[in-house]
Amino acid sequence: MTASVVVTGLGVTAPNGLGMADYWSATLEGRSGIGRVTRFDAEKYPTRLAGEVPGFDAGQYLPGRLLPQTDHMTRLALVAADWALDDAGVVPAELPEFSMGVVTASSSGGFEFGQRELQNLWSKGSQYVSAYQSFAWFYAVNTGQISIRHGMRGPSGVVVTDQAGGLDAVAQARRQIRKGVSLIVSGGVDSSVCPWGWVPQLATGRLSTADDPDRAYLPFDEAAAGHVPGEGGAILILEDADAARRRGAEHVYGEIAGYGATFDPRPGSDREPGLRRAIDVALADAGMAAADIDVVFADAAGTTELDRIEADAINAVFGPHAVPVTAPKTMTGRLHSGGAPLDLTAALLALRDGVIPPTVNVTAAPGYGLDLVTGEARERPLTSALVLARGVGGFNSAVVVRAV
């Protein structure tokens, strides 16, 4: 029998809320965290809006010794991990160190730190480059720092598949738990709000250039013209369901019931994009039918072509207007590897509270055939949710979460 893997703790650092409680109340009320970039002077760049995590003072939460060696995104990840473990009621020091692992997603690494050290290199010389540059920029750094901080020496890793990575990491965590690891810290937290992180995103052509925070990221709207990048994400504590029950876990937010991942056909191919198959695989993995899904958290790319592909995939599986679809990321921007873990968090809290958070600022274009939850949150009993995420380069992932 395949072990059931459940989420027992959540930690959030999001543009519209620092901490799970703030994030969730803002999300249900439709409060956005998108605004002018403050982490660097973006005025001369085509994209000048971001979802930045507000009021985050790393020194308030982390030991001083960690500050010289961490990028902003790692500090956010470490704090989210602390909060998630605390929420789960897990004290890592009391558990065998090889029974716990860390699998996070990453998309670019610690670019703000990396940019500063590269600037030191070419403006002052190699002796001015921090020794910590050796790992502080690196994809695996959040996993490594969380592992060191909590003494978690079990199977660990990092998954790099852009925005899909947040779901792929959770799936990898589930695999490790099914192989016998008791607990995995998973999810993802990202930040690339610096010139070095900004420019490659601009090159994708997918960023919004609007200056009005309420008109900049409008997935499934006729006015859709790209997305706003953001920072933050969520860390989730995953455990074997029986182990969680035995230790008397305070919360069981839900089960990671199904997962599917596919890769798109080559550009220009006339074959169908991979998202629908990812959904089908996730449903089959969960042993569920489309009709069993109560809500879909969309990837919501925010460009006409990608929104069309996603709507087609949802309609092919569920039928038009057959399932509520939402995109609370309209309040945060797209958070790279942090986006899907934050959507998973929202989905699990939606199951807990029986309420679907809204998609803000969007007027759903009727042509997509979606029952998009716009305007206000929608209350209804929920037992399962489907979370979708796509990454630049052809990655499609889908996760089904189910109340237990």
């Binding site: 030991p63 001083g64 960690l66 500050l67 010289p68 001015y128 921090s130 910590y132």
Partner: protein
């Protein structure tokens, strides 16, 4: 303006700047003969500290020598020996 002696106060300041400390009082008291490991500084922290000392005191830059120091006393002696040799 090159200073020609390297003191414990210099070391504490540079350790704090380069590798941080867990609280304001972490480096107070007599730490001269505590090991860097006991003080919570790993090899990378020592590498960062050595680079900063070399930068500030204009040492020739033999990283390998400074990072062999196990205690603040050893590091201070190594730095002062390099300073004396460079005069």
């Amino acid at each position: 303006m090159t200073q020609n002696t390297f003191t414990l106060a210099d070391l504490k300041r540079i350790l704090l700047e380069g590798a941080g400390a867990d609280s304001g009082s972490a480096l107070e008291g007599d730490i001269t003969d505590a090991t860097f490991e006991e003080l919570g500084y790993d090899s990378l922290a020592l590498l960062e500290t050595s680079t900063r000392i070399e930068r500030e005191f204009h040492l020739a830059g033999d990283d390998d020598a400074l990072i062999t120091a196990k205690t603040p006393r050893e590091l201070i002696e190594l730095v002062n020996a390099q300073l004396a040799a460079s005069v």
